[in-house]
Amino acid sequence: MKGQIWDTKPLEYWEKAKELRARWEKSGDRPDKVVGQGNTSFIVDWQQAFPAITVIEDNPRGSTIAAKNFKEARECRLASEIRGWGREICGYHGVFWGQQFLGRQPDGSPFAEREFVIPFPCVCDSHAKRGQQCRDFKPVPQWQNDMTMYLGELDERREAPMLDHRNYCLYKTINDLERIFGQKFDDEKMVEMIRAGKEIRKIRQEIFIYMTYKPAPLSVKELYSTYALGGLVKLPVQEALDFWRMVRDEVKWRAENKVAAVGTERYRWMEHHPPGYYFLKYYRYMEKYGAVCIGSQYTNFTFGALERKADGSIGARDVPDHPADMPIETREDELRYTTGADARALSSPTFKVDEYLRPYALNEFADVYGVDGALLSIWRSGVGCTLTRKEQARRLRKAGISVFHLEGNQGGDNTDYDEKRVIEQLDQWMESQGLRKFEE
């Protein structure tokens, strides 16, 4: 490899990751199970405590189609658009629900109709509209867990009632699913999943700390192929735990032995939110300059937000959380653990917590990962839309981080994307940083 600075080698867990992902891709094709649609997992994928229910998350599927099959993605989006779902909704969902309207999956097999829908529990953006495509298509029940949130400093007067309300919503959803589908929620299995989920979270945080090492043992490319496994890409909990242990052990070895994800690493950059999934090749393109993307809040901070401690070390971000020895004996305990300990955060103790920290969290990310530059997308709509993005850019620039913007429609929709212009601007950005390509 031209310009190689560090040793590198293929990841050994890669084959396992591919196997798990491929199996999940077909997890909706289960005639023995009631197939639902929606989000049931952050730390704990509670739907697995039902014996014969499987819930499919639309984000990973929609982004995969957007990345791998432009023609199929376009047809799917068109099928959604002619039913009135415009480009202001998330591109993943335009694609994903297009499969339902077309009645087929990308491999041509039938799209299994959903028996219920539990949209992403979000407060005020397009996430909460995710159930409607399903309900409009077929009269199925929907549970819209109401994720009350607030911004700003911790407010004890708001915390208790808001968290109570979240718990009530989830409690009701589970009770209704038991009643309607005649299945018993297995509380013992739920406790087992919580224990495993705690360990997975700890493991992920270890991995994200290893990613601060230079050279980076993992780059964002590898993360995007694995980070959803056991989360939005739902896996049996023991299998997820075994997988993340395998990842941690390998990443630890690579970090300690300076085995790089990218052998040319000499410049480190970050993103903010999801990439254009139709243009993932820009990661490889930047590697020609020796520039490695270390990740984003979306990837690294979803389950492993880091911060610099007072003594200069790097560790897990100190956020309100349940006590480590919190007793989990009743269903209420289970649900309280699952819905989180901070009403400013969305379910997991760190995911979306940076909604209130967002203007500062990017600088924190840049600091702990030692980045030189940031590529902040300016999407016209959808997931990762652009509110506060320019403000973040100014904060990063003031901290000495070079910032460039990438413009397009949104992560799952390439309609408004100008690939040639983006490539030109990546060249301009890299050369302005004093970097030339190692190879053409």
Binding site: I5, R397, K398, Q428, L435
Partner: protein, 270 residues
């Protein structure tokens, strides 16, 4: 040593011939769209004639600009526009602290640190592209020459404005003003002001301004109405070197002569 620098822009191709640190020949021609390579060959030939040299005298040729990859058969190497602009600005004005290059398509602003390197770089967003093309097209539509626009006030005296977000909307606004009887010169002032707003937005995106010596480069330096309006709005007194219009080509020629070699950190490690 004789080198050639080519700036292949969206509207114009510019060529500079450099000999031992002195520009000895220049030429400019229409970029030519799909005939860009032929247009560049013509411009290069004219620049060589201007310099009294032949192609065989040139040791190295480097291209920059949006069409730089279209002239690979002529240029031995390419560099990006920010680096070319920086090199030209440093050559023309050693104490440069910020360079602003406004072309037909792109506006770039680069602040320069004490080491002579780009500290911050801002390039216009997609919707704010085409400032130079917009002004040229509108001047033609308004039947005004550059000389006619020379004395225009920086904003329209009657308060007329056009969109400063998107040039398509800006053009519609301008036509609407004309249809409502607003004079061509008033509309021209409004159009120029909208272009200036887009450029100052990019300048203001630099969070640590270095405004001691701001060098303005690019084709729009020839539009005095634009320059005056930009001075007025930004409150920056721009340094506009004699060869400002040829900034990109000059930067490429300088790089060809070895001026830019130290800019790239081939050995930088993480």
């Amino acid at each position: 040593m004789i080198t050639a620098g080519i700036d292949v822009g969206i509207e114009n191709v510019k060529v500079v011939i450099l000999e031992d640190g002195k520009a000895i020949g220049r030429s400019k021609g229409r970029s030519g769209g799909w005939k860009r390579l032929a247009a560049t060959e013509t411009a290069l030939g004219e620049a060589l004639r201007d310099a009294g040299k032949t192609a065989g005298d040139v040791s190295r040729t480097v291209a920059t600009g949006k069409g730089k990859f279209d002239v690979a058969s002529i240029a031995g190497d390419v560099i990006t526009e920010p680096v070319a602009a920086l090199k030209a600005a440093q050559f023309l004005c050693q104490e440069v602290t910020t360079v602003v290059d406004v072309g037909a398509d792109e506006t770039l602003v680069a602040s320069v640190n004490e080491k002579g390197r780009i500290e911050q770089l801002v390039i216009n967003e997609k919707c704010a592209a085409g400032v130079g093309s917009f002004l040229r097209n509108m001047a033609r539509r308004l039947e005004l020459s550059l000389a006619d626009m020379d004395g225009l006030p920086p904003v329209a005296p009657d308060g007329s404005t056009v969109s400063d977000g998107c040039i398509v909307f800006g053009e519609l606004d301008a036509l609407n003003l004309l249809n409502n009887g607003v004079s061509a010169k008033e509309v021209a002032s409004a159009v120029t002001a909208s272009a200036v707003i887009r450029v100052t937005n990019s300048i203001n995106d630099i969070t640590v301004p270095r405004l001691d010596k701001v060098v303005l480069l690019g084709g729009l330096t020839k539009n005095t109405a634009f320059v005056k309006a930009l001075n007025a709005r930004s409150k920056i007194e721009f340094a506009i070197p004699e060869d400002a219009e040829y900034g990109g080509a000059l930067g490429a020629a300088l790089y060809a002569a070895g001026w830019g070699d130290s800019y790239y950190m081939e050995n930088k490690t993480a």
